[in-house]
Structure formats: structure tokens, C-alpha cells
């Protein structure tokens, strides 16, 4: 476990990374092709791209769950070759253990890292307080609402003080209101320790509202199409408000230009008719 933020930790580099999957019948499918990307320590990086372009694969490789077929992924100049310490992952679906209380779920991270049981529970209690779940320690995950489960997952991911936080469409299952509340809470939690964040999403507004840097991935096989720096000042405040600022709209227009072609290509490939709006106008 690291002690607070570190400027050395959390420096992410993808160099010529490709990932091919082999299906059981022996067909190969290229998910990612020649990805080059650098994310500086403490940066909040959003990755957007059409469905199935391999954006989640960047996260699983960085977490060490999968190896690249070519190229290297490095964290602070160390090649990732397995599960790496200091990396936390927040999945799209809940990854809380349904048979454990919220408290013991959050305490899993420290207890795996040899923190004495009682101290781990104290840490977990503290983190539940930070994410606003005091009083729900003994509840089972199914007894919480979707938003509360996300907060518990965030606490479970942040309790290990990661230098890198990977998030794979973490809020996509939530309703719109809960989602914007969670985005704001994520930002204020991120400000505390400033881990490097890779945030995969298909929601461009969410990406611009949260990130320092938005990476657009092409339709599969995915590769980096363009990288945009988001120069909106921090702290940003509520997403509902900043999304009407002129600079926000300008960036949105710019990035959407890059993203649109890729989305349409994926659409066409799936055999769906190109949306009438796009062709008729």
C-alpha cells in the first residue's frame, strides 16, 4: 500500500500495444491494434469509443488480467506482467460479494494486504463514512440501492490507496440523476489522493465533465484516433451546470466530430441502417 499520493507512481504508458483474442474454433479477433498512449501521474483520463472497440481491454491489460499480444504496457517504467499492486478496478457490474456485509466487503482490500482484521474493519468504517454510507455497515449489498452499491464499490476500490484507478463504465447502470450525483462524488474523492484514473465510458458529456484528457478509440480493431486535452478549470462543480458553458460545448463539438465516424462505422457493420437524421440532413 502506498502512503498517499505519489508523483512517481501511476505513470501509465501503452507502447505499440495490440491484443488479439482466439475463439474456441480458432478464429482470431483483433481487439486493439497498435495503441500508443501516455497518461501522467494523477491525470484523469476518459476513454471513449463505439461499442466493442476494445476500450475495456485497455483496462484489463493495465490491471494485469490479460497480456498484450504485442507491445508493452508499463506503469512507472515497470512492465505489467500480472496483477499489479496499487491498481484498483471498478467494474460495470457490481463486484461486491453478495454474501458479505458492506463493511466486510470494503475491508477485503486491506485484509488481503495483511492488515490486522480489526484495523481493516476500522479503515472500512472510515471509508464508508467518507462515501456517506455510515449506518449501512451491516447491510448486505442487495439491501442497498444501485447508487449506494456504487459508493460501496468506490470505497472498496479506494481503501487500498491505489495510484491507479481503473473504471469500466462504472455508472452506466444508474439512472441519470444518480449518475450525475455519483460523478460529482467521484471527482471530490479523486481530489483527495489524486490517483491516475482511466475511465471508460460511452457518454461523451460524462467524459468531458470528469476528465483532464479524453481519448477517442476507433471502431474495432481499436486504436487511438485522437487525444483531447480538457482545459476546463477545476474544481469543476456540478456536471449539470458546466455542460452549458461555451468551452464545454466547443470541446463536445470537437470530440464528437472525431467520435461520430467511428460510431457510424460500428453501426453500419452491425447491419443497422444509418440513422435517418445523419443521412437526410
Amino acid at each position: 500500500m502506498g502512503n498517499g499520493p505519489s508523483t512517481q507512481l501511476g505513470h501509465v504508458k501503452f507502447e505499440g500495444v495490440s491484443k488479439r483474442f482466439v475463439s474456441p474454433v480458432g478464429q482470431t479477433m483483433t481487439a486493439l491494434r497498435d495503441v500508443n498512449l501516455e497518461i501522467l501521474p494523477g491525470q484523469f483520463c476518459a476513454i471513449v469509443g463505439p461499442t466493442g472497440c476494445g476500450k475495456s481491454t485497455t483496462l484489463t491489460m493495465l490491471a494485469g488480467l490479460e497480456r498484450p499480444s504485442a507491445g508493452t504496457v508499463t506503469i512507472s517504467d515497470q512492465v505489467v506482467s500480472g496483477i499489479t499492486k496499487g491498481v484498483s478496478f471498478m467494474f460495470q457490474a457490481d463486484a461486491l460479494l453478495p454474501w458479505r456485509s458492506v463493511l466486510t466487503n470494503v475491508a477485503l482490500g486491506p485484509s488481503f494486504n495483511k492488515v490486522p482484521h480489526k484495523d481493516a474493519l476500522d479503515m472500512a468504517r472510515n471509508w464508508l463514512r467518507i462515501v456517506g454510507l455510515s449506518g449501512f455497515e451491516q447491510h448486505y449489498p442487495h439491501q442497498l440501492s444501485g447508487g449506494m452499491r456504487k459508493r460501496a464499490s468506490l470505497a472498496a476500490a479506494l481503501i487500498n490507496k491505489p495510484s491507479i484507478l481503473l473504471m469500466d463504465e462504472p455508472f452506466s447502470a444508474l439512472d441519470v440523476q444518480t449518475r450525475s450525483i455519483m460523478s460529482n462524488e467521484l471527482l471530490s474523492l479523486w481530489e483527495r489522493d489524486r490517483p491516475t484514473v482511466l475511465f471508460v465510458t460511452h457518454d461523451l458529456e460524462e467524459a468531458i465533465g470528469l476528465a483532464d484528457k479524453v481519448v477517442v478509440i476507433t471502431a474495432g480493431p481499436g486504436t487511438v484516433k485522437a487525444v483531447f486535452d480538457i482545459d476546463l478549470p477545476r474544481p469543476r462543480g456540478a456536471l449539470q451546470e458546466i455542460r452549458f458553458q461555451p468551452r464545454f460545448l466547443e470541446l463536445h463539438q470537437l470530440i464528437w466530430e472525431a467520435l461520430r465516424d467511428e460510431v457510424q462505422r460500428t453501426y453500419a457493420r452491425q447491419g443497422a441502417p444509418v440513422p435517418a437524421k445523419e443521412t437526410a440532413e
Partner: protein, 279 residues
């Protein structure tokens, strides 16, 4: 209507329904036993083959008071239950162990697959004869037969349970720093537990079957031996009496097991059928 009158009306309706169900159950019980008794008394069925409720009660009373040819009736019950319990425990634990092992190690699972299918296909009850030949008339042969029957039920469920573990949960534990043992302890076993617990009810019945069949094949004590003796002397009241006693015992253990199941699976979301009633 206000909420209170609605809920009062609902409670009254629920009570009425419970009473109706009980009444229906009582009608079936009295009807069945009454028909049996009358059919037997009037000679419509031959009491020698079909016995009669009063005959069964008399036979059981005699056994409980005066004992059987092999000692007290309580002792026969104890012997059978002991064999079944040992078989149950051994079968359940070995089934869970093998299920998790093969569920985790693909190579082993692929290698063992045809053999397990074959072992499952053969009538394992016949193994009882082998066990009696090997191990004699004592407890071991019956306990092993019961364990073999229980093993396969639990094994298949445990295996399936391990195979259907959510890969996200496993990935999450590993990223949080959990070892392979942590993954097994925190994810695989609890997750497979739903499947395993579901198999325990069937396994319980099988453990009793194993013990009794083992005793019928050869024993010096136990309910199976009592049944076999009753069969040889055309004592149908005795056979029905033993069936009844075994049924009551299994019912009792089932109640206990349902309680344990509820505790083990307390974390589960109650299904909507359990807590929502259509008013």
C-alpha cells in the same frame, strides 16, 4: 377504504385461507386412513398383503414396548441413523471437495469426465453387495454405500456451482490483492454454496436409502433388517410401520435442514414470491 381496513381485511382473508388449507389436508388424511381401514376390515383388500392402520399402530406399539428380535426398536433406529449420518457427512464433504477441485482444474475435469459419467450411469445401489462382502455386516458397509449415493448428488451440484461463478468477482478479489486461496475461500465456495445447499435435501434422502438398502443386503441391526424380516414373515403391517417411522424421521431432519439452509443463505435477496402478496 383506508390502509388499515385493507390490511385488516387482508389478514382475515389470509387466516381464512390457512384454515381452508388445513381442513383440506385433514380431509385427505382421514379419508385415506379411513378408506384403508374400512377396505381392510370388510375384506375388500386382503389384510395379509395390505395390512391396516390399526394393525400398523399395534405393530409399532409392540416394537416400541417389547422391542424387536434384534433388541430395542430405538436401537434399530439409532443404528440406521448413525450409518446414514456418517454416510451423509462423508459424502457431502468429499462431494464438495471433488466438485471444487474439478471445477477449478480444467485438465483434471477433462480427464475425469468420461469416468464420472460412467460411474454415475451404473446402478450404484448394487455396490452395496460388494461393500457387504468386503466389510462385513457392520456399520462401515452401509455408511460407505450411503456416502457413495450422496457423493454424486453433491459433487455434480458443487461442480456446476464452481463453474457458474461470476468471473467479475474473481477478477475483483485478485486485483484487491487476494491469493488463489482467498479466491476459493471468499468467492468460489460461498458462490457454489447456493448450489450445494440445494443438493442437500436430495442427498439427505439418499443417505437414508443407502443405509437401509445396505441393511437389507446384510446386517445384524437396523431398520433395514427389521423391514427385511417383516417381509420374510409376510408382516405387511411391520413394513408399513417402518416406512412410517423413517418418513417421520426424514421429515424432522428436513425441518432442521431448512433452518440451516436459511442461515447459510441469509445474504440472498428474498425472491419476490416470498414477501409480496397480491391483495
Amino acid at each position: 377504504m383506508t390502509d388499515t381496513t385493507v390490511s385488516a381485511g387482508f389478514r382475515a382473508a389470509a387466516r381464512r385461507r390457512r384454515l381452508l388449507v388445513l381442513l383440506g389436508q385433514a380431509v385427505i388424511l382421514v379419508g385415506f386412513i379411513g378408506t384403508w381401514q374400512i377396505a381392510s376390515d370388510t375384506g375388500f383388500v386382503d389384510p395379509l398383503f395390505f395390512g391396516s392402520p390399526t394393525g400398523v399402530v399395534a405393530r409399532l406399539a409392540d416394537w416400541f414396548v417389547n422391542g424387536t428380535a434384534y433388541g430395542s426398536f430405538w436401537f434399530q433406529i439409532f443404528v440406521t441413523l448413525e450409518e446414514a449420518a456418517i454416510g451423509f457427512v462423508v459424502g457431502v464433504f468429499s462431494g464438495i471437495f471433488m466438485g471444487i477441485l474439478l471445477g477449478q482444474v480444467d485438465y483434471l475435469s477433462d480427464v475425469m469426465n468420461p469416468y464420472i459419467k460412467f460411474l454415475n450411469a451404473i446402478p450404484r445401489i448394487v455396490l452395496g453387495s460388494i461393500f457387504v462382502m468386503w466389510l462385513g455386516l457392520g456399520l462401515a458397509a452401509k455408511a460407505i454405500l450411503a456416502a457413495v449415493l450422496v457423493f454424486f448428488v453433491v459433487f455434480f451440484n458443487a461442480y456446476q456451482g464452481v463453474r457458474s461463478v461470476d468471473p467479475n468477482l474473481v477478477a475483483n478479489i485478485r486485483i484487491l490483492g487476494g491469493s488463489r486461496a482467498d479466491v476459493i475461500r471468499q468467492v468460489i465456495i460461498p458462490s457454489a454454496m447456493t448450489w450445494i445447499v440445494a443438493s442437500l435435501h436430495v442427498a439427505l434422502g439418499f443417505s437414508i436409502i443407502g443405509a437401509i438398502v445396505g441393511e437389507i443386503l446384510g446386517a445384524q441391526h437396523g431398520l433395514g433388517l427389521v423391514i427385511k424380516t417383516a417381509q420374510n414373515t409376510f408382516d405387511s403391517d411391520g413394513v408399513f410401520g417402518c416406512m412410517f417411522v423413517i418418513g417421520m424421521i426424514v421429515l424432522g431432519v428436513e425441518v432442521l435442514m431448512t433452518r440451516i439452509e436459511k442461515r447459510l443463505l441469509a445474504w440472498r435477496k428474498p425472491s419476490s414470491a416470498e414477501n409480496i402478496q397480491d391483495v
